[in-house]
Amino acid sequence: MFARRLAGHLARGLVMILVVTTVSFFVIRSVPGDPMAARYEKLVEQGMSPVAAQRAVEVLYGFAPTGGLWQQYVDYMSGLLRLDLGQSLMVPGVGVSTVLFSAAKWTVLPVLAGTLLSFLVGVVMGVYAAIRRSGRLGDVLAISGSLLHGVPQYVLALLLGAVFTTLLPILPTSGTADIMFEPGFNAGYIGSLIEYATLPVLTYALASYGGWILAMKSSVVTVLGDDFILAAELRGIKRGIVFRYVARNAILPLFTILALSLGMLFGGAIFIERIFNYPGLGLMLIDGINNRDYALMGGAFLLITVAIIVANIVADLFYTVIDPRVRSGEGAA
């Protein structure tokens, strides 16, 4: 049963990847603009002679895909089968997969930390907000959640950036780590990594915290009204045990959202990375678009697509594991 379900998911996922890759291939190549002209302008502006600048730019064309659009598509897809994403035009001579994985770690770590932090705090606060929903604490928590949920990530990032640049300059607002520390498993370097990641993580956590608290509150309130809770209370079951019943049932839908959020890890922090100059996939994608680096853009979209599809599959399978009703088919009834 489980294996058949998994096989079905994988087959659908592969079809989705094929469709998205094909569509994104043609969409990306229809983006207008001439990055070589921009590079030429930059070189002559810096004092290079027009002839030398033209030649320097022509050399870069050697790294661009050749042939007609369909030929390029065939080459790209056959490359994908060999896990070859092509050459980056932005960093000539370096493979797209190298650039992607180099950037990915700087996105995954802070976004993962931000997501888990906001999930943990949001879930706990959501439970309190639901239990104390008629009290002042419940109101405060619900309002704070609504407010933060409504503020876009980039506004929070700009606010935090402004505060920690001018009013309270105690945290770095740009970069990943202090280069003066030798990279490795040493306290100085790890501390520096955490110090530099604090604002991006905090921004991401604050921006998603509102969603978790509101979702958890709503879920708890729904479960509190279920008959089995009433029955448990009538049977005189201890309050702590009832609370566990509530929490376990209320958190189920949030696990699905969490799994899907983790799928968005790779593409979910573009503004934060841009504002804090944090060199993850978002920043790399912006650079790729500005430079019309088709291979890099295609690779980034592919990575984001695969992550979301995998997250969907994991969420679905995970739900069958944690919720016996779904496993037995009751949930579908």
Partner: protein, 606 residues
Amino acid sequence: MKRLAAVAALLGLAAVTACSGSTGDKPAAGGGSGSGGGLYTTIDGLKPGLDVNGPINPWNPKGNSFIGLNAMRLAWSKNHLTDPNQFYPGIAESWEIAPDNSSITLHLHPDNKWSDGKPVTAEDVKFSIALAYTQGSTAFAIDPGAAGAASEVEVVDDKTVKITQDMDNPSVTFVRGVMDSYIVPQHVWSSVLSADFWDKLKAARGEGAEAEKAREEITALSEKVLAFAPPKDVSAGPFTLERMNPSEALLVKNKNFYNAANVGPDQVKLLNYTGNEQIWNYLIAGKLDNAPFTAVPADVMKRISTTPGNGVVKGYSPVSLGMAFNQSKKPYDNVHVRRGLAYLINRDEITKIASPEGGTPAVTTTGIHQKPAAEWLGADLAALEPYKLDAAKAEEEFKKAGLKKDGGKWALPDGTPWKFTVNVPAPFSDWVSGAKAITSQLAEAGIDAEVVTTADYPLYLKELAEGKYDVGFWLIALGPAPYNIYQRLYGVSNGWSILGGKVKHAEPGKGGNWMGGPETIEVDGAKVNPGELTAQLNSASGDEQKKIIGQLAKAANQDLPVVQLWDYVNTQFVNTNRFTGFPENDSDLLRQPSGVWIQLGMVKKQ
């Protein structure tokens, strides 16, 4: 729930502990690492950001070779107003240029060594020149008939190289082309080129199928050279790259550098940036010892100047901004319309609004920045039409063009309303402000004017080249070489190209001719081919060059393919809290990055 709370508390505690640990053994911000000459912090304005994946390769656009620090040229050009052939020493200690510009003999520093201890030799220079052939250069070009190309590279002795120009098609930029060459260690890069490279080059200079094949082989090498990644940095510069992360690079002093004793800082830290606002933040925080020119709004400039130690050094920048017309489109094909518009634009006001720190209003349109224009043209500059704000003259010009004013609004000769649309790239805030100021000035004079922004610069340049815009902003006056200056007005963008040493002109709207100018224009009642004159600047020298520049300045002034709006000022930021000895205002070193100032022994610890 208790478990959840415990996990949250532990995470918080871990973060706080780690943060406090990280600040405990962190060196002093921006400066004193506690030894020698300290840590110098800057950004590399010549590259679009740092990239840990980039190779240590000066030809790679994202390479981690930083000019003046670990990337060395034969010599460093001075920011001279008119002469592109003046230099400070780099890999070459001294040089002799033949009076007719036919050759240059370079003498290397006798005691210069690579950072791995091996001596820098004439063979390294010759090998680097071979690499330059694969990347394109004015002096080292494989294209037949290329102007200013070298014909021979001769190793005279271990420390002397003589490079001879092909005098069949000479150029005054030959010497500059030679001196701009990067020099890399042959013993590190030797695998990139085959031993028969110079034979191939000789064959490539000929004609026929064999020559074509040789040219293709050399061109094919270009990708190999561009992608080559040495396993570690071996530099003849004052620093070598020690390590990088995606946001910073650390370079340490190269004790083998010929002038190491006079190099102030022990270490250099380069900070990454992805936008101007990050540079502003670094400057406001006092983190940078130096930053090259960045467009800065007036309010940000005020905040930067309040940071202790921050200062500004200004000098000549051979770049101007022009408002270019697409003469393929009506009514901009009519010179009287262009002149009328020039009379309606208040350049003082526009510069004050758009580029108060980084520009000075253009005195008139000559195609040259006003400082070299004064040198080149002398008293003739004052004789040119200044196009000062004059609504009456504008009206007179518009009437000559057949435009009609109806109900206070200008219309085309056939009575249809005239819509003046100027395009600018959205990310260039100073250009957008300038364009908006222009449209509001034109609107006051009865012209229906609007600004249209384009999403980014690559798209802007593409659409501009396709002739989609009526009017757009365009960088001009890119000196100091006179040919480079005037090819912005009378080069490919206006239809002229040089093929096999011959000048050709493409019809307006074709062959890259987006400015849409005709092949000949009328100057003082006589027909002039400005593209031909511009091409002659390649080989003309002395008085002949001055005469041609005078003709072209007059042509640009009367024909107005662009209205020159403002001349850029090289505005550098320095902070004297940690280091001193930065160049003074108007220094001829201001266009070189601070690595060159350091290697020349100027920058010292405070």
